[in-house]
């Protein structure tokens, strides 16, 4: 089992949410800013990697019939961990991500990987899988967040980047709902075009 391969597939081939259209809910909501995207991404990396490891470690112990319920308890526990830790040490981030921190538990990516991979593979491979996909997701979120923040507010990580004129009249729609959907759709279309030409 090639660990590097398990890790790297999450960075392009199975990149969520573009190549693998899963886990969309938080994508639209937290990508108003680059830091929001980054924060959510890292939270997901944590939950995904930890739950993959635990599910994989217990894969021979959990009876088939209660596996989904067990996965949910495990994933939810890590999500509550994230909730408590961000509340205690990163309060501004906690407020920014708001209701979407608890919603990590229904992020299809995490349950999907637990069922499709972690339940059938070793702990190290599952950890690599979780890390790779999680980091890929983080990349996507941060890029989308940066794009929306740049166009919608003229800043990047809260630092003004665009010229002053733009700052006063930014393309504000980008940080609102319509901009979110459209930006994601355009990015997805771009990725499809790239894939088509590369033939991957």
């Amino acid at each position: 089992m090639n660990l590097w391969r398990e890790f790297s597939k999450g960075l392009w081939r199975d990149l969520p949410p573009f190549r693998v259209v899963l886990g969309l809910c938080p994508v639209l909501a937290v990508t108003k800013s680059a830091i929001g995207g980054l924060g959510m991404g890292l939270a997901v990396v944590f939950v995904l990697t930890c739950s993959n490891i635990l599910v994989s470690a217990l894969r021979h112990v959990i009876p088939r019939k209660v596996r989904i319920a067990s996965y949910i308890v495990i994933i939810a526990s890590f999500v509550v961990t994230v909730e408590l830790v961000t509340q205690a040490y990163m309060y501004p981030l906690y407020e920014m991500l708001g209701i979407f921190i608890p919603l990590i538990v229904v992020n299809c990516i995490i349950l999907g990987r637990a069922e499709a991979f972690a339940s059938r593979n070793g702990v190290l491979a599952s950890a690599a899988d979780g890390l790779g996909i999680g980091l890929g997701f983080t990349m996507s979120l941060t890029v989308l967040g940066a794009l929306r923040e740049l166009l919608g507010a003229g800043t990047l990580f809260d630092k003004p980047v665009m010229p002053l004129i733009y700052q006063e009249h930014p393309f504000a729609m980008m940080v609102e709902a319509p901009g979110a959907f459209i930006a994601l759709g355009v990015l997805l279309g771009l990725m499809n075009a790239v894939t088509a030409t590369k033939g991957t």
């Binding site: 217990l58 112990v61 959990i62 009876p63 019939k65 209660v66 319920a69 067990s70 308890v73 495990i74 939810a76 526990s77 509550v80 961990t81 408590l84 830790v85 509340q87 205690a88 040490y89 309060y91 501004p92 407020e95």
Partner: protein
């Protein structure tokens, strides 16, 4: 039967271990979380109403029990001496509870300011109660004032189009003023014991 038992046992074990771990984490982070909430939510309002305080208002907070309810008193010092206090009270506004932070000058028995901690009023209309121009009038008001809207015969300005919100805020301030004598007495006890 064996399968059933195994399912129940495994699931219960997983739930149990997770619950234990989480409650442990919760206990470990509880105090830090409380400090964060105070810093980010109440912090700004306390610092505004107790402007001129030289101490760390969050660290120096006192938890007391008044009328059977636990309250957090934010104590302001200057030159090591206690000069002011601020605490939260709640009133009923249009959209829900309005929580205010009222600051008092202990020597003059006057209000040093009123800030809104949280509310559910209509943005742009009821939310006017948070605006500077509508909270400035509270500064320097003596305790003997009539804390009702002038439309009801009191001393507080009304806010056009936001009657219920203004009433809710007034109610919260009234409750705060009602508690003041006891708060002051308790504080003086604490100072005597070496605050």
């Amino acid at each position: 039967m064996n399968e059933m038992v195994r399912m129940v046992v495994v699931l219960s074990l997983i739930c149990g271990v997770c619950a234990l771990a989480l409650s442990g984490l919760r206990t470990a982070t509880a105090e830090q979380i409380e400090r964060q909430i105070l810093t980010y939510l109440e912090g700004p309002t306390v610092r505004t109403v107790l402007e001129g305080a030289e101490n760390d208002l969050i660290e120096d907070r006192q938890k007391v029990e008044i009328d059977g309810k636990e309250m957090t008193l934010f104590v302001a010092k200057r030159g090591g001496e206690v000069w002011g206090v601020a605490y939260e009270t709640v009133g009923s506004g249009f959209g829900g509870d309005i929580t205010v932070m009222v600051g008092y000058d202990l020597t003059d028995d006057e209000l040093t300011g009123v800030q809104i901690v949280s509310h559910k009023e209509t943005p742009g209309i009821g939310s006017k109660i948070t605006m500077d121009q509508y909270t400035r009038s509270f500064i320097g008001m003596p305790l003997s004032s009539d804390f009702r809207l002038e439309t009801a015969g009191g001393d507080l300005d009304a806010i056009t189009g936001a009657t219920y919100s203004a009433q809710g805020r007034a109610e919260a301030v009234r409750r705060s003023v009602e508690l003041y004598p006891e708060v002051k007495a308790r504080l003086q006890d604490e100072i005597a014991e070496g605050l």
